[in-house]
Amino acid sequence: MKFLKKIIFFYYREYKLNLSGIQDILTNIIFFFVSIFIFIFSIGPDKETISFIGVGIIWTLLLLSSTLSLRKFYQDDFENGNLLIMHLNGFSFGFIAILKTLSHFLFVQVPFLLSIPIACILLNIANDKLFFLFASFSIGSLILSCLGSISSSMNLMNQRNFLLGSVVVMIFSVPVIIFSVGIINMEESFNSLLNILFGILLIVFAINPWASGLCLKLSLENN
C-alpha cells in the first residue's frame, strides 16, 4: 500500500514538473503536427510520396521528441538534489530508474502516440496500417525510453569515457528503429517480428534499472 502510494505520488510530482496544465500536452501535440507540416512543405504535397514516407516521418519525429527530452531525463533532478532526497526517502536507484523511464514514456511519448491517428489522416497512411504502426511504435518508444535512461544517467558522471558511453547507447537505438520501421511494411510476418522487438524491449527493460541505477549511484558519490 505504502509502496503503491509512493509510485502514485512520484507520478504526481512528475506530472507537476512536466505539465503546468493541459496546454502543455497540447503544445506537444501541436509541435508534432507542425513538424509534419514542415516535412510536407519541404518534401512537396505529392500524395503518393507523402503516404510513402509517412511512417518514416512519424518515426523520425518520435526519435526527435525522445532525444529532445533526454537532457531533462535525470539532469534537473540530479542537479537540484531531488534524486538524493528521493533516494533517502526509500526509492532505490533502480526503482527511480524504472519510474523515470515510464514517466518519460508517459509524458513525452504518449502524447505523440495519441496524435498518431490524426497524423495518419494527414499523411495519407492507410487505416489498416494504423494498428501495426501503433504496436511497433509503442514498443519501440519504450525501448527508446529505456536506452535514453541509460544514456542520460551515464551522462551525469563527469568522466569523459562515460560521455562517449552515452553516445554509444544512443547508437544502439539505430538498429531498433530501423527494425521497427521495417516491420510495418511486412504485414505477413508482422507478429513474429513484433515478438523480436518485444524481446529487445524485455532485455533493455531488464538492464535499465540495473545500469541506470548504478550510474546514478556512482554519479551521486562523485558529486
Partner: protein, 201 residues
C-alpha cells in the same frame, strides 16, 4: 543510535579526514565544525551512505549501517547545503509534492502553523525562483517538519538566515531533542545552540 568508528574518507586519492568517531544518541545534538573544505559535507554524506569510506564503519541501532539501510533512511531527514525545492513551481506545489512523496503524516494545520512561524504564509503562490535567499532556505527547512523523522542531518542549516529565523531554528532543535530526536548539523558559527558534542574536522 548512530555510532561512527574511525571514519576515514578519501576523495580522488586525497585524504579528506581521518579517524573520526561519533556517537549520536537520541536527544543529542552534534555540531560539526571545521574550515572550508575540511570535509563537513563529506562526513554527513558518508553517514548517509552516499560516499563509501575508505576506512572505518558506521552502525545504526547496533547493526552495520549498510545492512540496515532502508530502516535508517526511514528515520532520517537530510537537508543539503543547496536547496532542493523545485524552482519552477510555486511554494504551495512544492509543499504538496513533499507532503505526498514523503508520505507525511503531518496535517495541513500543522504545516500552516509552521509556514506562519517561518513567515512564509504570504508566498504560497510565488515561484521559488523569485523567493529571496533566506526564504528559499526556510522553505527547505520546512522539510524537517513535513518529513517528521527522528534524525536530522543538516548541512549548514543556519546560513543565509536572519537572527529571528535562527532563533526559531534553535527552538525547533530544542523541541526536537525533547521529543527524543537527534540532530547532527554543520555550521560555521554557533549562535548559542546548546550542543552535546562538537566535532572538529
Amino acid at each position: 543510535m548512530i555510532i561512527v568508528k574511525d571514519l576515514t574518507v578519501e576523495r580522488l586519492d586525497k585524504k579528506i579526514f581521518e579517524n573520526i568517531n561519533l556517537s549520536l544518541a537520541s536527544g543529542n545534538i552534534t555540531i560539526l565544525k571545521g574550515k572550508n573544505g575540511s570535509g563537513k559535507t563529506t562526513f554527513l554524506k558518508t553517514i548517509l551512505n552516499l560516499i563509501v569510506p575508505s576506512f572505518g564503519s558506521i552502525y545504526w541501532k547496533g547493526k552495520l549501517l549498510r545492512t540496515n539501510l532502508y530502516d535508517f533512511y526511514n528515520n532520517v531527514t537530510y537537508i543539503a547545503d543547496k536547496t532542493t525545492s523545485l524552482t519552477k513551481l510555486n511554494v504551495k506545489d512544492n509543499i504538496n509534492i513533499w507532503k505526498k512523496i514523503f508520505l507525511s503524516n503531518i496535517n495541513d494545520s500543522q504545516i500552516e502553523v509552521a509556514l506562519k512561524t517561518l513567515k512564509l504564509e504570504n508566498y504560497l503562490n510565488q515561484k521559488v525562483t523569485t523567493l529571496s535567499l533566506g526564504e528559499t532556505k526556510k522553505l527547505e527547512l520546512l522539510r524537517l517538519i513535513i518529513e517528521n523523522k527522528k534524525i536530522w542531518v543538516l548541512d549548514e542549516p543556519l546560513s543565509g538566515l536572519d537572527d529571528d529565523s535562527i532563533e526559531l531554528i534553535k527552538q525547533t532543535f530544542e523541541d526536537h531533542c525533547a521529543k527524543e530526536g537527534s540532530i547532527i548539523f554543520s555550521s560555521h558559527q554557533n549562535p548559542g545552540i546548546y550542543v552535546t558534542e562538537e566535532i572538529h574536522l
